[in-house]
Amino acid sequence: MKTFAHISLESRMQKAVCLLCLLIICGCPGLSQEDTQLSPKESLQDSLQHYKESLVLRTDRDLYVVGEEVWMKVYKLDGNGKKADNFSKVVYIELLNQAGYPVSQHKLHLPDRSGSMGLTLSDTLSSGNYLLRAYTSWMKNYPAEDFAFRTISVINPFRSMENIGAGLSEPVSRDGDTDPGVAGQKQFFVDILFDSVSYSSRERVKASVLAKDASGNPVEADLSVSIARSGFFNDHQEGRLNQVQTGINKAPGVSGGPGMPGAPARYLPELEGVVLSGSIYNSSTDKPIGNEDIILSIVGKAARCQIYKSNSKGKFYFNLDDSGVQEMVIQPVDSAVNDYYLELDADFHNAYDHPLPGPLNMDTSRLQALNQGIINMQIQNIYKPYRQGLASGSTNVTAYDFYGEAEYHIQISDYISLNNLREVIKEIVPAVSVRIKDGKSILWMDNGIADQHFNKGPLILVDGVPYDDVDQILNINIREMESIEVINLKYILDGRLFEGIIHFITIEGKMAGLEFDHLVFRQAYAALSERARFQSPEYSSDSLKNSPLADFRNTLYWNPALHTRDDGSCSFEFYTSDEKGEYTVILEGRSEDGQSGIMFKKLMVQ
């Protein structure tokens, strides 16, 4: 089905192509005649090529035990996979099993050119190789093989490990890994210097980083550093820079990829948050309902509503920048529209037209390290509750009401206890009164400017959700009610005029069990994933150093946000854990002008 948006997108693209053709003709007379005589359809494909973007995905290591976090960093690059870019603001990250089934899906908000997240491996996963893939909404217009990939291996010691092969074969297949910037690209050199040759347990490690180009000039680079148990990396990391990219590995920007010819751009780029799109249809005729105001609201104490007028194909779009799982309600603003159904567009890409990871073969020489890693994971998880507030660095963003500050805010607990909400409105709430019309209660509101009643009823919200059954609201137990906010002024929301707003906020913020008397679309929705931040314990004082909390991190340190200054240097510090042994240090990143750099080193804790 071709929607208005698709047509509009194509039309825009054609305009853009005209502009591009003009640029090419005027600015580059040396181009061949063939390039200047593109048909509109070919030009559209050409423009899609030019607007391409690509990603690079990095992880803190290659092998994990269930229950651990995969720490990852995503770089946004231009379509050539060379220069840092910052176009799309949302990156989709999926973990696929060997059958191509997504076992974990996340939407990462990436306002900058790079960003990071932690993905917890569920203990329901089977041992085996898994494929991490990352893409943006705009990249979904291109073949899936142009996404960013990375293969990781997962061990689940609590489940059968029969599917793990034995022998001396490579422990993890690297075929699935892509980095468009590595193959045949300029590189810069990075080095890392530690303040000691080896360290003891719970000792501070100071490290300084220096990045230089081939001429010895300092390089400003966006880096990540990972320091983890050596057994958790592949053996052939050093050869990574020059490795031949195989399988699904294909540099973005290459023309004529599968699925490209004739494929119209269907997905919008996401330049703010997640774009939630869908269509509304008449349930009797299955025809789209156009020109209808659709309101999206999120259940909660803050009113966060958006209105979109559906286009001629019944299509609507909303921008969501909330994190975590939210309960959303979508309904027509006019509650009289009852004969409808909604279909939401899939957010994640549901095609897997790329090779999947092969079977996991475990090198027997790594078994000892792996066993120790499994024990470490269990110890870490036992002590995890005692480290709350340290292990998780997720940020809580305060949600604001879309209407800003209300004209009247009535905190129920500030007043004498009344029997019910009807009494509260009558005795306490200014500018609002309850009246009966056709046997049903309605709310009347005074116009704060004109000193008279509004002709229409106000927009009534309960915990942020439009709800117009006043009798049901008045039946809410007064002890469940926290506050009432009133805006006795005309209010325009996304071009729709309301004659006042009254917002009932319950203590729990979950609509106090109210049921809708008409059809609404109500479901939990995961917008942006909550960001976790890697943090390692600090042993800066004797009391901290003597803490009884065991510390057996498999990943000793992960910092995805290292930036060298204009002199090419930066520094970081962390503390070692209780686990002695050899650790592998991987420092890698990209410079502003698109060079890539990587370095491996060993760190000993004795």
């Binding site: 030019h50 607007y51 379509g79 919008l268 400017i449 325009i492 071009g495």
Partner: protein, 232 residues
């Protein structure tokens, strides 16, 4: 080489085209039509807390990284509100004056008699000695020493009528400390590490700090910054 530069241009143009496309599809309605009706709570003939006093289509506003120019914006200095005035709204049965939702405004610029003034909503989570509260401030200069103006109004009753007396407050934020600039003494206190040189400069340039306009004070700050840079 030429081909590469064309590709880059195309990529940048692609961004612009897609950005506009995104705005048109995701935010098809006038972003300024988001807010409550603005009620004129004063007698304009007697006094007004609005700047400029009359709406002219010369303001601009940045919303969701998109700039809207030549719109009629007013700033209510008493209530700290941005008012969008558009008589054309009446044809849609919308109020002519709307308080624009401050959360969506990234920046707005007004043409005032004192010159162009750029405003931004600032919040001060850290302790600023209670001097500054959250709200819209004119950003005069940024950098190591930030110069901002709070355009506010005092409500007074004069001859039985309520009037709003315009009262701009000037602040310098230097190294996290806030200084309200009322005169020479407070300015020298704010720039204490170069107080002697700044004092000489004020004398040479014949600047009366208490009555100086923002361009004169900006000149003092430029001089101060130059001193700091040369001293480093």
């Amino acid at each position: 080489m030429m081909l590469f530069s064309v590709t880059l241009t195309a990529q940048q143009d692609g961004h612009i085209v897609l950005q506009e496309l995104y705005q048109d599809i995701l935010h098809p309605t006038d972003p300024l039509l988001n807010g409550k009706e603005y009620g004129y709570y004063f007698q304009p003939r007697i006094s007004t807390p609005l700047i400029p006093a009359e709406p002219y289509p010369q303001a601009s506003v940045l919303i969701r990284k998109k700039s809207y120019s030549n719109v009629m914006l007013l700033y209510d200095t008493y209530k700290d509100l941005v008012v969008y005035y558009n008589p054309g709204n009446l044809s849609q049965n919308f109020p002519a004056s709307i308080v624009v939702n401050s959360q969506i405004i990234e920046e707005f610029t007004l043409n005032l008699p004192s010159g162009q003034a750029r405003f931004r909503y600032l919040s001060f989570p850290e302790n600023q000695d209670g001097l500054l509260s959250e709200g819209f401030y004119e950003i005069v200069s940024e950098g190591s020493c930030r110069f901002i103006i709070k355009h506010s109004a005092l409500k007074k009753v004069q001859d039985g009528a309520v009037i709003y007396q315009y009262k701009p407050e000037r602040y310098l934020i230097s190294s996290g400390a806030v200084f309200r600039i009322k005169g020479k003494k407070s300015l020298l206190e704010a720039l204490s590490d170069r107080a002697a040189e700044v004092k000489q400069y004020l004398k040479r340039a014949k600047i009366q700090v208490a009555s100086a306009d923002k361009e004169q004070l900006k000149g003092v700050l430029d001089y101060y910054s130059a001193l700091k840079q040369s001293g480093e």
